[in-house]
């Protein structure tokens, strides 16, 4: 049986974070009452004139630059014609042959390897409205249309077919999301639909240069869904070919509940878009000065920031990669390090306990109640020996759940570490007296028996005894 390799390209739609729509001054605010954020322009009423929002062009250029694209000196808008109720004009204003940005790339890191993924183009277009169904699209008796989203600005980012596995596709989308979030032109929330991803997938026998027939995959609403859908589709296509069949070029939708991809519509007829230049909109001539100005406004991007974290803070590559995966997390880390200058310790807490608690509660970094200054404060308490490492974990959890200052928690719960030699010495003596067997073992050469005795002292002090001191005092007494 032939060995196959997958060829994957992604088309990503990103909603831009502007105040108003792309061609009119209706609000883009999310969650308004149905059909309340509309005007004659986005409703496509006769006689209206769309005018491009300058911020949209600026954001598209910014995204293009962040993705290492060349910005087109001359760009224009075109009409993409199709009939669907989410599109009141029966055409979508998009960009066809002269997109705002082309020929970019980004780098993905997977298993310690770096791979370059090409970006074919970035173009601007308007979003369509939202169809509300009762139940699913196949069972609903009719559809309800809300045009609030119609005309919300989008950029579509098209990759080269450079990915070869579901893992690479996910890594690409993660990196793309991070870069776009760093530029702050979009918040890229997959669940709210401000980041949407379609995948073009084909398979070919290993060694073959020509691409196989591709299918277009839609409706993946999370990174997990993207991974599962692509994995399924690759296997499905290989099965078709192994059974002597042919892959049909079509659009398929990912059914999350059933865990399968299903055909959506036949491509030939439905995709005859008859693009032509939109006569309502005049061309864009982008000056070098404007591009330079936008370039100067670009923030430090994930790759640069990662390199700086390695150089400036002496962090391992892996720590730097994880910490810079989102701008918010990297900001959090840096704010903390500014107040507690031990980067590796801060990194361990952020990547360890903080990440674990965030995963457990499904909370994003923006919703974490521990402020960077509070984490720094706790690390200072730990550093000074006011609290033990074990107690620190308890304090941290309490901080995560309540947002209280570490000092307050330590005081309220009486968690201050006992470093009073006299106090500990007394408990050590009691423990030695109460556990003659372990003492005998230790003195007889089973040195590991001391671990049990340390545990007993810690238990007697509810974990508050300074472990270094306990060890020292125990050894002194046992060895004497």
């Amino acid at each position: 049986m032939a060995q196959y390799e997958a060829v994957i390209g992604l088309e990503v739609h990103v909603e831009l974070k502007t105040n108003t729509k792309i061609f009119c001054n209706s609000s883009t605010e999310f969650g308004a009452d149905p059909n309340h954020h509309v005007c004659p322009v986005c409703l496509g009423l006769p006689g209206v004139l769309p005018v491009i929002n300058k911020k949209v062009v600026e954001y598209a250029i910014k995204a293009g630059l962040a993705l290492n694209c060349k910005i087109a000196p001359f760009s224009k808008f075109d009409r993409k014609n199709y009939y669907y109720p989410d599109l009141p004009k029966n055409y979508q204003i998009s960009q066809y042959d002269l997109p705002i940005a082309e020929h970019g790339q980004l780098e993905i890191n997977l298993d310690g390897e770096t791979k370059r993924i090409g970006i074919t183009r970035v173009h601007m277009e308007e979003d369509a409205g939202k169809l509300v169904h009762q139940g699913t699209i196949s069972t609903t008796p009719y559809s309800l249309v809300d045009y609030n989203r119609t005309g919300v600005p989008l950029i579509e980012i098209v990759s080269e077919p450079d990915m070869r596995s579901p893992e690479e596709a996910v890594a690409y989308l993660e990196k793309l999301k991070a870069i776009i979030q760093y530029t702050e032109v979009s918040d890229c929330k997959m669940q709210e639909g401000s980041l949407r991803c379609d995948a073009n997938i084909s398979v070919r026998p290993v060694g073959q240069v020509e691409f196989g027939t591709k299918t277009e995959l839609k409706n993946m609403n999370s990174f997990k869904a993207l991974h599962k859908a692509i994995t399924y589709e690759i296997e499905r296509q290989i099965d078709v070919l192994d059974e002597g069949g042919q892959v049909v070029q079509e659009t398929r939708t990912w059914d999350e509940d059933k865990g399968v991809t299903l055909p959506l519509r036949s491509k030939e007829e439905a995709h005859d878009y008859r693009y032509f230049p939109d006569p309502d909109l005049v061309p864009l001539v982008i000056s070098e000065a404007w591009v330079d100005e936008i370039r100067a406004s670009l923030p430090e991007l994930p790759d640069e920031r990662k390199a700086r974290f390695v150089n400036e803070y002496g962090l391992p590559e892996y720590d730097a990669l994880v910490l810079t995966s989102t701008r918010e997390l990297a900001d959090y880390f840096e704010q903390c390090v500014e107040l507690f200058n031990n980067p590796k310790t801060v990194s361990n807490w952020v990547m360890g306990d903080l990440a674990r608690m965030m995963n457990a509660t499904g909370r994003e970094i923006g919703a974490v109640r521990i402020k960077p200054a509070q984490l720094a404060e706790m690390l200072k308490l730990l550093d000074k020996g006011t609290i033990s490492g074990k107690i620190a974990k308890t304090v941290f959890e309490e901080m995560f759940n309540t947002g209280k200052d570490p000092g307050v928690i330590v005081e309220e719960k009486g968690l201050v570490q006992i470093s009073d030699e006299g106090k500990i010495e007394k408990i050590v003596s009691d423990v030695i007296a109460a556990n003659p067997k372990s003492v005998e073992d230790y003195r007889g050469g089973k040195k590991q028996a001391i671990g049990f005795l340390v545990g007993q002292v810690m238990k007697a002090t509810k974990g508050k005894a300074n472990p270094g001191l306990v060890n020292k005092l125990l050894k002194e007494k046992l060895d004497s």
Binding site: N19, T20, N25, P34, V51, R265, E269, P279, L281, V282
Partner: protein, 93 residues
């Protein structure tokens, strides 16, 4: 001359239902129109840049400031069917 199949394809894209008679009429009329436009191909356009727009204008921008919205009753005034504040349409799969 356009083929009957091409006419049917264009009609489908425009969501038009045509009788056989109409198909034949449009086949002739559309072919005439296309033939007329084809005459433009005779012109030498070697040194003429492609025209993106007929007006000598570029970079007409709008600032990103929210303006007024239409009252929802006005929005839905011409809706053939509505439910609450939604347009109600046949489902299209």
């Amino acid at each position: 001359m356009l083929s009957p199949k091409e006419v049917e394809h264009v009609a489908l894209l425009a969501r038009l239902k045509l009788t056989d008679e109409e198909k034949e009429t449009y086949r002739r009329q559309l072919s005439d129109i296309l033939d007329n436009f084809r005459k433009l191909q005779d012109l030498d356009t070697e040194n003429i840049p492609p025209t993106a727009h007929v007006l000598p204008l570029q970079n007409v921008f709008r600032e990103d400031r929210v303006g007024g919205h239409m009252a929802v009753e006005k929005v839905l005034a011409n809706a053939p069917q509505r439910q609450d504040n939604f347009f109600k349409v046949p489902k299209i799969v």
